[in-house]
Every structure is written in C-alpha cells, then in structure tokens.
Subunit: 356 residues, 2 copies
DNA sequence: CGATATAAAGAGACCGGTCTCACGACATAT
DNA sequence: ATATGTCGTGAGACCGGTCTCTTTATATCG
C-alpha cells in the first residue's frame, strides 16, 4: 500500500517544509541542524520528516558546502593482503573523523591510476591517498595538488613531489633482512620482485620506478657491497608477476652453477609464489634453499617451515596515512612530512645456518 | 608560478564559456558531450577547457541527471579474502558498465550495516549490493527498496525480502563435504562457524541469523540424519570469532570422550584458526583429526598437508551480483531472481580414510 | 524573392541542499 | 513612548552542472 505511494521522486526539504507548514529555510535549519529554531517548530519539522521518511541528499549538501565527507583511496590491488589491511587502517581513521572512503583499484597501471585520480577529483573527494604505480610519472598527482586537494602518498614516495608520504622503512628493512642472511652464513643472495621489467634482469637500480622496491634493492645491495661480496646485482630479479613467471625466475636462478642459497621476496604474493615454485621443484626449505618474505601474511605462519618475514605493520601505516590526510583536510597549512613506519624481522624457520 | 594562480576556486563551465566567448549552455554541451555544436565552436571550447584545466564537477552533474554512476557495496569485512575477492568481481563488472564502486564495511554488525546503507543512499548511489549481517532484521533494506534504489543481496538471502540475491549453493556444498567425510569413514563430525552466539552451543538451527551458515548447517545435519547418526547437532559450534575463542572451541570439542574425527570450517578464516589451534595442540592433520575448510584461500594450498576445501567461486559470485545490479539499474522492470553459484569440493590431503 | 524548414547558439529554469540577509515581534533601555 | 537589541522565521541567491525553450542565422523550396 504505502509501497505504491511515490515510487520515484525522493522527499526533499521543501516537501517536509510544506508538511510542517514552515518555510523551506526553517525546515532546512532543523534537518541540517544549523542555525537557530524554536523547540516547538523543531519538533513539528522532525515529525513531518519522520512521517515522510526524509533522507537528506548528500550530493546536494556537498555541492553547497563544498565538502563531500569522502576521502578517495587509489591502491594497486585490493586483493593483495597488503592493501586490504592498509585500507582497513585508512577506513578506521576515516570513520573516527566522520569521513567515508571510496576505493579505486589501479592494478598497478599508470593509466588506470590516472583515470581513478581524475574520477575521484571529479567526485570532489575531500582528500586523496594514492599508492603511485610509478614514481617517475606524477603529472596527474601535481594536478591534484594544483586543484587544491589534499594528497597523501602511500607506501611509495615521490621525492620531486611536494606531498606528504607514509612509507615503511624499506631500506632499513632490507638491510636487516640481508644482514641476517649473511649472519647465517649465506653468501649468494637473490632478491625477487613482481615489478614489471623489460628484461627481468637489472642493470641500473635507479631505473626501478617503484620507490619501495628501489629502496629495498638499494639496502640489499649496500649490505652485499659492505660485506665485500662481488656483483651484488647478479641475483636481483624482477618480473615475478604471476606463478608461471615466478616458476621461470626461480628455476633459472637455481640452475645457475653458483645458485643463490637464499631468496628475499619483495612482497607476500611473490613470497607465496616462490614458496609454491620451490614446492613444485621438490626443494625443501630451508635445507635446499632459504627464504624471507615481506609482510606477515596469513600463509606465512602455517607453512612448514613457517616463513621468516619482515613485518611491515601495514595497518598502522594505513591508519597513519588516514590521520595525516584528515589533519591536512581540516587545517590546511601544514608542512609536508614524510613518515616512515618501522618494520621488524620476525625470525621463524625458513632460513638455514650454513657454512660453519 | 601557475601554481599560485587560483589555489582555491575550481574551474567551471561558466569559466570555460567566458574564455571561449560562448554561452554557458554551449560550453556545457561540448564539455558534457550532448546536444549539437559546430566543429569550430567545439574546438574553441575544448581548447579553452584544456588551457584552464577544467575538470567536471561530478557532484553537480549527478544532481541534475539524477544518476551518480556509483554503486554501493556493503560487506562484512574487506580483510576477509572472501569479500576482497567478491569486491574485485563486483568492481570488474561495474567498471565494464562504466560504474564505480564505493565500499563500506559493516564488520558484520547490524548497526554499522544500517548506517552504511543510509550513508550510501544519501550519496544517491545508483544501486546497492549488501551482505546482510542478519537475515532476520531487514527494515533498513526495505527502506532501500521503498526508496526505489535497486538492491542485490550477496552471499546471504532474506526470503521475506523481495530482492535479488546471489549466493553460493551452501546447502549442497555442505552436503557434498559431509557426504565425502562420511564416505571416508568418519562418523563423528563437527561443524565450526564464526557466527556470534549466546552460548556457543546450538539448540535450534532456525535461530541462526546468517542464511549461508544456516543452510550449511542444515545440509550438514541432513546428511548426518540420513546416515542414521545420532544427535547431529552435538558437534555444531558457533562463536569461533578469534584465535582464542577458536582454541577454546577446538580444545573442548577434542577433549570429549567421543571426540569428532573431522572438522568442517565454515569459512577460510575459521579454517585458518582451526589449523593453528590443531598445530598448537600438537595434533597432526589428518592423522589425529581431519578437516575441510570453505574457500580456496591462499594458505590452504601451502600447508602440510594441503587442505581439502569447498571451492566457492567467489569472484564469479561478485561479478554476477554486479551484473545483476547493473541490469536492474538500466532497465528496471525485472523479475526478482535468486541466483546460486555452484561450488565444488577440491580434495587435497587434510581428510583421512578411517575405519576399514 | 519571399516563405518556411532547420541547424546552431543563447537565456534561464531546475536539481536539493546551504546560507546570507531582511523583516517582524517582543524585551529591555532611555 | 520611542529607540535599540535580540531572536526566530521567511525570502531568495547560490553551488555547477543539465536541459528545455527561444532566438538567430543559414539553407531549401516554390
């Protein structure tokens, strides 16, 4: 019965005003809870609103106030545990401050990232958190800043860009993991990442377009160099983007006459792929080969052996990014800051002690 | 330099129109690509728009067109692999049709769900996909329908509600898994779920407020009954919401003088918790106890032994839900449908054959 | 060559809120 | 009794698009 009333047009302040026999302005004051209205009239308007099932049109509200109450988040891949955890951190921070979150996926592709950013700007989000797919292309991010929209970079920094960033201490993390491996007697160490690359090999660290990966490789290389090990880039591999690619990378690495004895996985997805590769090759961890992965993902603690990992505290990173963005939204004049969240090595059972 | 131009006010059609020396209406026609405009003027407007870096205000656009191009998704917990996979399916379907997605988390709590739904309706989403936390409370969902907003339920159905739903074939899935266990000689089977419950035990299946869980339990019970096993509810346990709770549940189950020989986990998170519990109790799978989990999660294929699972094809479910919603948005008069996505048992190594 | 059809551009209402300003009523001050 | 102030309400502009209706310029036809 009431179902068939007016299936189409939504109830507006004007409708409520008419029903309560007051002006639109007064009804709006009550419904938007601003200005001053007498208690009597307030009640009358509230009653009318309830009877009509009035729901404010947030779009209209946003348009006149200029604030949408939404923050936009552009991530590489929500399916990746790293990002879904980060998103939870961001969401929690946002909710606490009364903001809501729109998530967009870039699939780690620059074009998708650009259009996602454009879209969110178009929706007039109050601020933006972006995980830039490439740190060497940031015109679109400069547009964001020029448009006056607060921006926080996540996980990866763009030094040339005058924007806040929340990242892990990737260099230190890689250093700690690498030192640990060397301390356990390893001398031939490989680093495997999922970054796209022309050739899979690597000649120039500076060319890595993802700052997090670049810093990790730099840390990795610096430790090898400081330990006096030759040709530190020899076992650095990119392109482990899917299981098949990873199988190829691992097979190739291990068939070397001087095969690496330990593998460092750049993220938990790569780590999982490496684990599966080794499993399918019938190799035992850590007897045949040792490994360390980034991120305390689900699977790392239930394998045999459990995987030694670099714990990234992603939830905190996300929360921090959210809080930082909100601070910037609410009181704009704020100096640019680059926050680093410390990581720690969690030693489990995937690294062997060798050579003594 | 250009940075300091006008850090505040955004460029509007009126600005572009002035720059191109045409009327606002004409500029709008070009920028919104509707109506007819001569090639010459089109070029002039486009040039002006490019020079001024015009970005359309989607809010304003939505307000006059009445369409936002956004579909809202309310899930239980994005961090759960089940939902993040589903969200990808939904997003993919949405993107293909030119829609974008706002995600909101309910944390499986009714109040949070209600306010998320309200929020999204307020934002004037074109449609809504909801994973109802409880199937016995749906006033808020009826509001949605009454407001004329297309709605698709996900994973769980509400029979009383006249809305589309996409679910798994939970009853059949549970039946298949249970039959398999019985076929392997198991006679004492436990079902463990994360649903909140007053007591953890269970006296009345009808009281389970999550239809997916209820159907699974029904399937489970029906097979036990048909196999002539006594007291089928004896080993059904709810409340495995975190590791500690799960440890308690498992310890209690297994300390029974007639302890179950196989455990059925209601989702992959519960499955993981059970696995860890068993591990910490020093029990071996499947020698000491067998288990089956729902969902082909990451971790299930790298454990020793790998876990036998009920594969839910969640991505397809999400995609289907997205497509269904979009169909309903674009051509409203459509009969209500309840779609079921079939599941299949993937036998790996976590179930022992016993008793013969 | 004038009448009519048609294409292109302009003027302005509208969406549903917010918010400024003006106005009337009543209280207090002088 | 008149001036001043405050409070509560109403009228209407505004946000930035879309879209209808009107006007103007050009083309087609008899």
């Amino acid at each position: 019965m009431e179902d068939s009333a007016h299936p189409k047009r939504a109830v507006t302040v004007a409708d409520v005003a008419k029903a309560a026999k007051v002006s639109k302005a007064t009804a709006a004051r009550v419904l938007g809870s601003y200005g001053v209205v007498s208690a009597k009239i307030t009640d009358r308007v509230m009653a009318a609103a309830a009877a009509l099932e009035y729901r404010p049109n947030e779009l209209a509200r946003s348009m006149s106030t200029g604030r949408s109450g939404i923050i936009g988040v552009v991530v590489g891949d929500i399916e990746n545990a790293f990002f879904s955890l980060a998103v939870r951190g961001i969401s929690d921070a946002a909710r606490l401050a009364g903001f809501n979150v729109i998530i967009a996926n870039s699939g780690e592709e620059l074009d998708a990232e650009k259009s996602a950013v454009d879209l969110l700007i178009g929706k007039r989000v109050d601020g933006l958190i972006v995980t830039p797919a490439r740190c060497d292309s940031f015109d679109h991010l400069q547009h964001v800043r020029r448009a006056g929209v607060p921006l926080v970079l996540f996980d990866r920094a763009v030094p040339e860009l005058d924007a806040d960033a929340v990242t892990g201490d990737d260099r230190e993390a890689a250093i700690a993991a690498t030192r640990y491996l060397i301390g356990q007697g390893h001398r031939r160490l490989a680093y495997v990442s999922a970054m796209d690359a022309e050739d899979g090999g690597l000649t120039d660290i500076g060319r890595i377009s993802n700052s997090a990966v670049r810093e990790r490789v730099e840390g990795f290389v610096s430790v090898l160099t400081e330990a006096g090990l030759p040709n530190p880039l020899r076992y650095v591999r990119l392109g482990a983007t899917n299981q098949q690619q990873t199988d190829g990378v691992i097979k190739h690495l291990l068939s070397d006459s001087a095969a690496p004895t330990a593998l460092l996985a750049s993220d938990s997805l790569v780590g999982l792929r490496i684990f599966k590769s080794l499993q399918s090759l019938g190799l035992s961890i850590p007897k045949d080969v040792s490994m360390i992965s980034f991120l305390d993902a689900d699977w790392t603690s239930v394998t045999v052996p459990p995987i030694t990992i670099v714990d990234q505290r992603v939830y905190e990173m996300g929360k921090l990014a959210g809080e930082r963005l909100i601070a910037r939204i609410e009181r704009t004049p704020l100096a640019v800051e680059r926050l680093r969240v410390s990581t720690s090595l969690i030693v489990r059972g995937s690294v062997a002690t060798i050579g003594r």
